[in-house]
């Protein structure tokens, strides 16, 4: 708190007067401010969260700042609590005042109202954007400043639920996504969740690793959750006595509906078609395991896509245009990644491998942009996450530390959640393919089979 006040005071000091406050013409930044260390100009824009305090604002700011950080699209410049910034801008300040609309002495504290901000200061910090979150009555305002053009890019006004409300965090995540959209013109992934299985139950958790909730509405062992494209429901498999049943469950109500199949087999690995009409899945029978589809709109029309006989076919994943299905087949002897048309025709190898050299490959998931298929492959006795480039049909290995498996794409097609034991126990991690940054999603063991949601729009009003 002290440092915030101190910081505000410093900003005041270097206000329109331009009078040097402390030190001379160079900016001196104390330890703890990440500037010029990780940030590389032109690679990722710098973004600074303006310090604010107020009712509920601390958590809003913290959530938004973390969301923007986890987007891996910014270098988030933190103004940490224990540090102070001594800054003087004798040459920049006059220029700054000239570009400001109405230079006031309250740049930092009154930025949202006046639109004025000490842009040269933030430019000196390496920021391309500054995000200011304020409260006006019951409305939260997120003002995105474009530092280079020294103006407000956009002000987003939302009425947030109260902290503690079950919808609060997702509403804040959506605010973060709007800020990211305003800055970069691309949608974010803050308002997403990840389903996973732990001890036979399905849980959900926000992509920032907070707000874990049980979503299983049954005591039977659950496996293989898969999101519907609308993010309103998911499919999963219930496993009991060696048999597997498929269910659809609504996220909001928890209501579950059995998918009409024969019910006597072992049905597993459900996957929605992008239009939500069809569920593809694997069925293990005495003939082996093969792929089927069923129309879930009318709960009818079971259709068999593969006839393996002496090989197994499983783990389907639709291309985002719904035209193709990638899957696992053991026809080469060991499981490898294959692809076919959505009607089962034109089956062919998808991810190249060397006979007798390449290990088993499993758990494919087609990226939302259609360009990649993530999967895991046995490398020297342990599993690693790979990505197949759909166009060139080349694969690259993403992970190498520990055992890494069951990758699932974020809607931005650049983040993957996966299971890893790199910290000594199996839990969920997230990797950004562009920067290579890896962070733990959870701090608990036993989580597996993650499924990353599509972008979650506002929950439909649940009228009691």
């Amino acid at each position: 708190m002290r440092s915030v006040i101190c910081f505000a005071a410093l900003l005041l000091a270097v206000g329109p007067s331009g009078r040097p406050a402390i030190g001379q013409d160079t900016s001196t930044i104390d330890r703890g401010v990440r500037i010029g260390i990780i940030y590389r100009a032109g690679v990722r824009p710098g973004l600074v969260m303006l310090p604010r305090t107020g009712m509920g604002l601390d958590s809003v700011r913290a959530i938004v700042a973390r969301d923007l950080d986890y987007s891996d699209r910014f270098e988030v410049i933190t103004l940490p609590g224990g540090d102070s910034i001594r800054l003087a801008t004798p040459s920049a300040a006059p220029r700054g005042t000239g570009t400001r609309r109405s230079g006031t002495g309250t740049a930092a504290t009154g930025g949202a109202q006046s639109g004025g901000l000490n842009y040269p200061l933030y430019q000196a910090l390496g920021a391309d954007f500054a995000l200011d979150i304020t409260v006006a009555g019951d409305t939260t305002v997120a003002t995105l400043h474009d530092i280079a053009s020294a103006g407000v890019r956009r002000a987003v006004r939302v009425k947030l639920p109260r902290p503690g409300d079950p919808d609060f965090r997702q509403a804040v995540h959506r605010l973060a996504d709007q800020a990211l959209q305003a800055a970069l013109g691309t949608p974010g992934i803050a308002a997403t969740r990840i389903l996973f299985v732990k001890e036979g139950k399905v849980y959900q958790i926000d992509q920032d690793g907070v707000d874990q909730r049980l979503v299983s509405s049954t005591d039977r062992q659950a496996m293989s959750p898969a999101w519907g494209a609308d993010g309103r429901h998911f499919a999963y498999m219930e496993f009991q006595a060696g048999k597997g049943w498929l269910y659809l469950q609504e996220m909001v109500t928890g209501k579950r509906i059995a998918v009409s199949t024969t019910g006597s087999a072992l049905d597993f690995t459900p996957a929605f078609s992008p239009d939500g009409q069809t569920l593809a899945f694997s069925r293990a029978t005495e003939e082996g395991t093969d792929l089927y589809t069923i129309n879930i709109k009318n709960n009818c029309c079971l259709r068999r896509l593969t006839v393996g006989r002496f090989s197994d076919n499983l783990s389907p994943t639709f291309s985002p245009d719904g035209q193709r299905i990638a899957f696992v087949s053991t026809r080469p002897g060991l499981p490898q990644i294959y692809v076919m048309a959505a009607d089962g025709t034109d089956q062919q190898l998808f991810a190249p491998f060397d006979y007798g050299v390449t290990g088993s490959s499993n758990a494919p998931e087609w990226s939302p942009d259609g360009q990649s298929v993530a999967f895991h492959r046995d490398v020297a006795g342990t599993l690693q996450v790979f990505v197949l480039d759909v166009r060139t049909r080349t694969v690259r290995q993403l992970t190498s530390v520990g055992r890494n498996e069951d990758p699932t794409w974020a809607p931005d097609s650049r983040h993957l959640a996966f299971v890893s034991d790199r910290s000594g126990y199996r839990q969920l991690w997230i990797i950004d393919l562009d920067t290579g940054r890896i962070r733990p999603l959870l701090q608990q063991s036993g989580a597996r089979l993650p499924a990353w949601s599509p972008r979650l729009s506002e929950a439909p009003s649940t009228t009691p």
Binding site: M223, S282, E286, G288, D312, L334, S360, N362, E405, D406
Partner: protein, 206 residues
Amino acid sequence: MKSVSLLLALGLSAAVITAASCGGNPAPQNPTPNADSAAAAERARQDSINAAQADAERQAAAERERVENQRRADSLAALARSSEEVRATLAAMIHFDLDKSNIRSDDMGALDRKVAILQANPELRIRIGGHCDERGSDEYNLALGNRRAQSAKQYLVSHGIDASRIETQSWGEERPLVDGHDENAWSQNRRDEFEVISGGDNLRRS
């Protein structure tokens, strides 16, 4: 008044008896039995002999019965033991190599013994459960466990057992037999389990 005089009379008579036994003739050591008492003794002797004989007979009968019971119990236990042996032979697990579902040659004998039991007990129906270790992929292991169960079933069927008497299940890696994260645990967890569905009472060896 009456009772007092009675007590006195008793007291006097007691004194007289005491005086008589203390002085005068000593009590006879071996009174000669008269004819009546000899007969009684003989009767008693005979009675005790009879009783002893009856007792011995009863004991012998009880012993016979005990031995008979024991024999019956032993033979039942033997029966149960053999049934138990048969059951154990039937339930003996078979194991698989990593990521494989083919029957290993060292498990064929175990399956052959199951074939004999299934042939000797035509009412017997069994279920085969295929299991995997934790190293493979969670979902692929459901398919692999299914293959492992099918492999054993196909072996039994190819040796003359009716396919309708054998059900199969896959458990994937969901029910490890041994907890642990080393080859010792993994090799034990890559297995088929065999359980009786019906017709499992009084199993015959062959």
